[in-house]
Amino acid sequence: MDQIPILKIGDCLLVSIQVDMHDRLAMELQDQLTQRIVATRARGVMIDISALEIVDSFIGRMLNDIAAMSRVLDAVTVVVGMQPAVAITLVELGLKLEGVRTALDVDKGLALIRRVIDGGEDPVDRREG
């Protein structure tokens, strides 16, 4: 059975999506991730989508939902590694990843999570307000 591994690094959870996700797998990931945030008391969640060839409205909604759920659980979500072609397509599709923080790569994503946690910065994306 397909499963997307969730790795724990310190107080962060790292998910690297390496497969072309069917919708059910995306929903499972969302469930597992919220459970792991609670179980590990994680403060940050990093989702690496560098291997994703597309982000359609369903995957976009999953990313939004993960960010919203982790915010309620006092964790900040950062999506890293979006391919340029995916970013261009997302904008044209009309998908707004509101409330989802993004960073170019894993290093920058970790630094951003660290800043938010240590700085006590409100994890809600300021672009919303």
Partner: protein, 134 residues
């Protein structure tokens, strides 16, 4: 205009959406599309394929590789025998959804391709055609 390649894949269950995306990628690559153009048509196809499964009760995708003089294109035709759409104009508006989605499927897909056609009426199913030229 010549149809150089013509194939069909079923779009019945969730996993078929993934297979449909892969089939579209193969065809867009064969048409010589740039990475951005490939990504756009695959994303559009993914939206429509999901509609076919979720709202149309499943259907089929026909994939055609087109040549018109020196240019190549991809034409994707999604057909289902589902309940159909009563108000197509409304369904094309961003934010309109009858399910749990974001309501970007049809309108978003239309923005991602060059030519978009939809034919639907209640009780007669839905046919969506996406065409993109290199």
């Amino acid at each position: 205009m010549i149809v150089e390649k013509d194939e069909a894949v079923p779009v019945r269950v969730g996993d078929d959406v993934v297979r449909a995306r892969q089939a579209v990628r193969a065809l867009a690559t064969a048409a010589g599309f740039s990475l951005v153009d490939q990504t756009k048509i695959i994303t559009a196809a993914s939206e429509i394929a999901r509609n076919t499964v979720d709202y149309g009760g499943g259907g089929d995708l026909r994939l055609e590789l087109l040549r018109d003089g020196g240019r190549r294109g991809v034409r994707l035709t999604f057909t289902d025998q589902g309940p159909g759409i009563a108000d197509v104009e409304q369904a094309l508006k961003d934010g309109y959804t009858s399910g749990g989605g974001l309501g970007l499927g049809l309108g978003g897909a239309r923005r991602l391709v060059g030519e978009f056609a939809i034919n639907s009426s209640p009780g007669r199913g839905t046919k969506v055609t996406l065409t993109r030229w290199k």
